[in-house]
Amino acid sequence: MTVIGSRVTWLDTWMIEARNITKTFAARGGGILPGEVVTALRGVSISVPDSSALALIGESGCGKTTLGRILCGLEPYDGGDLVFDGVSMNGLSPKERNAQFRRIQIIHQDPYAALNPVRTVGKTLTDPLKLRAKQIGRSASWVDERVHELLGLVGLDPEEVLSKYPHNLSGGQRQRVVVARALTVDPDILVADEAVSMIDVSLRLGILKLLNDLRARLGIAIVFITHDVAAGRYAAQGGSMAVIYRGEIFEYGTIDDVIQFPVNPYTQSLLSAVPVLTGLEQPGPDRFTPKQAMDTDRTESGCLFHGRCPFATDTCRVEHPELLPMDGTKRLSRCHYSTTRRVVARPIQAGGGVTTP
């Protein structure tokens, strides 16, 4: 694996690559006064390989959702570039760019808001399919077939749901419809933005399974944006994980590596916060909590985490760390003092010992 500039290239084929994306928002209420500027992304680079998975994890407000929306073309970016299959988006006309972005579909957090309340499931799916049929030169009958096919694919009974309105469906069903709708345009990637956080816990697993299933069967890559480590881990099985904090990637690596052996203090603080199932799990011995809550920390100098980091030194306060590969691993970390800490809880074995994976 090599790092050339900010470009991470440890895989040979990737479909989508974000290079050094930056994004700021103008705060509201400025009027004729110059408004405040909120920095959402400070130069983020990720890559999503073919039929792979990437989990973006971080606290709310860290910029992970913004990154997801930029990937889908729903939000413009200020700096950097998006490269799809080697083609830079910066060089394309809006029309060409839109066609590229159609390959990346988003699954929103709230499946109710994501569906038009006045349209039936059938209409919701038919309309984009008609558009698709025109693009790829299919007949009208194909649309009908395809609706049934897609509903089957997401595990819904076409006869039962086709004529229903969103408010007649359960949360899980709605989210499946959302997925089906995303599939109408044969996307290469699905960006799932907190896709299960508003669904009943009992139905979450089904949706996660569906996403995994789609990856396996259709080769659709998944970008899974979440604050829930467990969900991220499940959804992005076998893929990689990026931990984002205040618009910067703090740690990047394969998902199991990052979770089992986090090297960045921020990742470690996140994982420390994962609740422990008392009696079944044993908390990691190195668990710690950050020094202060996130939104009170607004420092812009040195490491962005230094204000909360219990391990911060004077260097951290002054010097801004780079995202650097760890020696001998496929792991990147943004810390002057990257080191593995055992913060993840481990299941207690029947015998009382702790397993080491």
């Binding site: 073309g73 729903l74 988003i106 808001a113 038009n116 309340p117 006045v118």
Partner: protein
């Protein structure tokens, strides 16, 4: 009189965004409408009144072909068997005048409602959907339209504009009255934009036109429908007011002109003979608006499933 121009009382209009669907599966729009109306006799009454006047507007001029007969031997006659509502200043049957005059009032009011709904919806949709400078421009214009007092503007416009046919009357009332709706539609669109299905539609590659007309518009259609009905009542007041003041062209069968003549010429308040000449157009105006007001609640329920009785 400002009804079509100013903000409506909150209880009447600023209902929350209506995420209406067509209700339960298998129930058609008409079935729902019927069941709501059955449970709301007042709404049914309103609908019947509206229908009655609509029918009159269509067939009226055929019932009493022009020119209407005049009988100068019974000028301003009291109601009798031959003239159920009496006669006017030239001995024409008041009932015939009312019936013939329905077309202008109803058609121009409907056109006004249409233009209000059309301008308000189109501008509100564009403004709320595209935002940016388009939004700024449209909203400045909207502020302007909302600030200019509507009825005085109509009076001033009467000096240049000929209100002779229903279209020109409806058009001007529409031009004057769309501001509040545009602003309301815009805020509805803004709140719809918070809902991610709009974004999803964009991601799926739909054109803005498709999204505005197929995704956004159906969601606010019930709201616009209500505003249309309110616009119709406002337009009736405004035009009858203009005719009552006598600032617009003269036509014997116009309800406002009838009011004007009964009040100023026939002394209807002072002599019982001409009372029906005054009361007939008055009552008709009240009936039409009452019909719309009564129907509004039922219409709200038909269009808005959340208000429907379980």
């Amino acid at each position: 009189m400002e009804a079509i121009l100013s903000e409506e009382p909150q209880s009447l209009t600023s209902k929350e965004l209506i995420p209406a669907g067509r209700g339960q599966r298998g129930q058609s729009f008409w079935a729902i409408a019927w069941s709501v109306l059955r449970h709301r006799p007042t709404g049914m009454l309103g609908l019947l009144i509206i229908l009655l006047f609509t029918v009159l507007a269509i067939i009226g001029p055929y019932l009493y072909p022009s020119p209407l007969p005049t009988d100068t031997n019974s000028i301003l006659a009291p109601p009798s068997r031959g003239h159920v509502l009496g006669t006017d200043f030239e001995g024409t049957d008041v009932l015939a005048l009312i019936v013939v005059g329905t077309r202008y009032v109803i058609l121009s009011a409907a056109l006004a409602g249409f233009f209000i709904a059309f301008f308000g919806t189109v501008l509100g949709l564009i403004s709320g959907y595209f935002l940016g400078w388009t939004d700024s421009v449209i909203m400045r214009v909207t502020d302007f339209v909302l600030t200019i007092p509507g009825f005085p503007l109509l009076i001033v416009l009467a000096t240049v504009w000929k209100f002779g046919d229903p279209l020109s009357m409806g058009f001007v009332l529409g031009i004057v009255g769309w501001g509040a709706l545009a602003r309301a539609v815009r805020s509805q669109v803004l709140s719809l934009r918070e809902r991610t299905f709009i974004e999803a539609a964009r991601g799926l590659g739909f054109s803005s036109f498709h999204i505005i007309t197929r995704e956004v518009l159906p969601n606010i259609a019930p709201y616009i429908g209500m505003k249309f009905l309110l616009g119709v009542t406002g337009a009736i007041y405004a035009q009858v007011g203009l005719f009552f003041l006598g600032v617009v062209p003269f036509s014997v069968s116009n309800w406002g002109v009838m009011l004007n003549f009964a009040y100023r010429q026939a002394g209807a308040m002072y002599s019982s003979n001409a009372l029906m000449y005054l009361l007939a157009p008055l009552v008709c105006i009240l009936l039409v608006t009452l019909g719309v007001v009564l129907f509004l609640d039922a219409a709200d329920e038909i269009l808005n499933p959340r208000l429907r009785r379980g």
